[in-house]
Symmetry: C2
Subunit: 245 residues, 2 copies
């Protein structure tokens, strides 16, 4: 319908980058785009820690479960949900910060994702490639110590940005019928749409791996949600002052 | 730097809409843009429930704390974090869904925000205006009942989309120095940058309200985080199968 919509629909994660740098001027512009996203009650609970230090990059690549592009991308950020800055402002006004509210956790996590996604769209509009790094949540204590994150701040994900050195296909998504519902939730569509999508995903993997990978979405979901997932997150977050009530 | 970046930086929430409709063809395109956003492990834990029913719209406008644009916007969506669909797929494969993981809550909440923000950018690229409705979390039990949301699904926020009938200023954001840090978290910048931003916010409100509103960011943060905020969210979410471990 227009170039922005075409851009949005052409997203795919990039995991190989060239050596070409991304200037600090560009980085600032990308962050400003992130700041322009909506924010709940103007709380702006987002802090992006850009990692220049190459030793820290290598450490983070390992902490993320061995993702070398964390070290090699031109720019890498740890996106943090930050209730410490609003706490600072509240206390500056003589207020008593109310810690641990689940609502604040939601607000801050959503703020981070909205801002990061704007930064991603801006980066892709400049021909850059990106990859979100959820793997930082494998070792959130170590990531927090490395970046000296205070209480009421947690690392939500990392973000690699750089010049692409690969051109992967766009990954097919669920049929729209399964994700856009009308007036009420309707699970009856799943029997058909999940089966259709399972076939689509199987074909996608087969064509990408010359027939070697044979897996469906349902099989992947069984592997993902059919077992405990990062079970340390609850106690980690409580230890940082989140999700206490 | 380019039209997409200019678009991102010109965002402001719209709370007055004309009567002009938004076609279902456009809505589908906006949702497809949302689906194209990154998703953790391809879980696609996002369900958008579009509300056509005018009675439900009126009810939701009230449940959101009295926000009439929820009823009057051309299109309105309740964005849900949906672990019920991956649960369905997992069980289709004979797996046992592992409920209540905090990690799944983060994954699903981030997925929702990334998808919604893509839909927002796409809408704004077509000249439409948007407003996120966090106020649905005032009454999440009633919203969930109204939309017949099953367990493992929760309403994260609403989203109004329509043709703008107002042209508000872009709201000034925090200085970039306060939100982009390097190699580690550094709170020492706040003394200066929060004071600067307090002045900016005071001037913004004064000019918008002909001098009537006199408030700073720090004062707003005291009002927001200096007290409990939606204290029902923790028990609501646990009751829906989230955040149990």
């Amino acid at each position: 319908m227009n170039p922005t919509i075409n851009l949005l629909k052409s997203h795919r994660s990039i995991r190989k980058f060239t050596d070409e740098p991304v200037s600090q001027e560009i980085v600032d512009e990308l962050i400003l785009c992130g700041q322009a996203a909506a924010t709940s009650s103007n709380v702006q609970a987002v802090t992006a820690v850009q990692i220049h230090d190459s030793d820290k990059r290598e450490t983070l690549a390992k902490l993320a479960g061995g993702q070398p592009y964390v070290a090699s991308a031109a720019a890498f950020f740890v996106y943090c949900a930050d209730m410490n800055r609003p706490k600072y402002a509240c206390e500056k006004q003589g207020g008593d910060f109310s810690p641990g509210m689940t609502e604040h956790f939601i607000i801050a996590t959503v703020d981070v994702a909205l801002a990061a996604q704007n930064t991603v769209v801006a980066a892709e509009s400049l021909g850059l490639g990106i990859c979100y790094i959820g793997g930082l949540r494998n070792n959130p204590v170590e990531v927090s110590e490395l970046l000296e994150l205070p209480e009421h701040v947690y690392p939500v994900f990392g973000l690699c940005i750089g010049h692409p050195a690969q051109d992967p296909e766009v990954k097919p998504r669920m049929p729209i019928e399964a994700v856009l519902m009308y007036d009420k939730y309707d699970a009856s569509i799943f029997d058909n749409s999940v089966s259709l999508y399972d076939d689509t995903v199987r074909e996608y993997y087969k064509s990408r791996t010359s027939g070697k990978k044979d897996s469906t979405w349902s099989q992947e979901m069984k592997a993902l949600v059919g077992k405990e997932s990062r079970p340390h997150m609850s106690s980690f977050l409580k230890g940082r002052g989140f999700l206490k009530k």
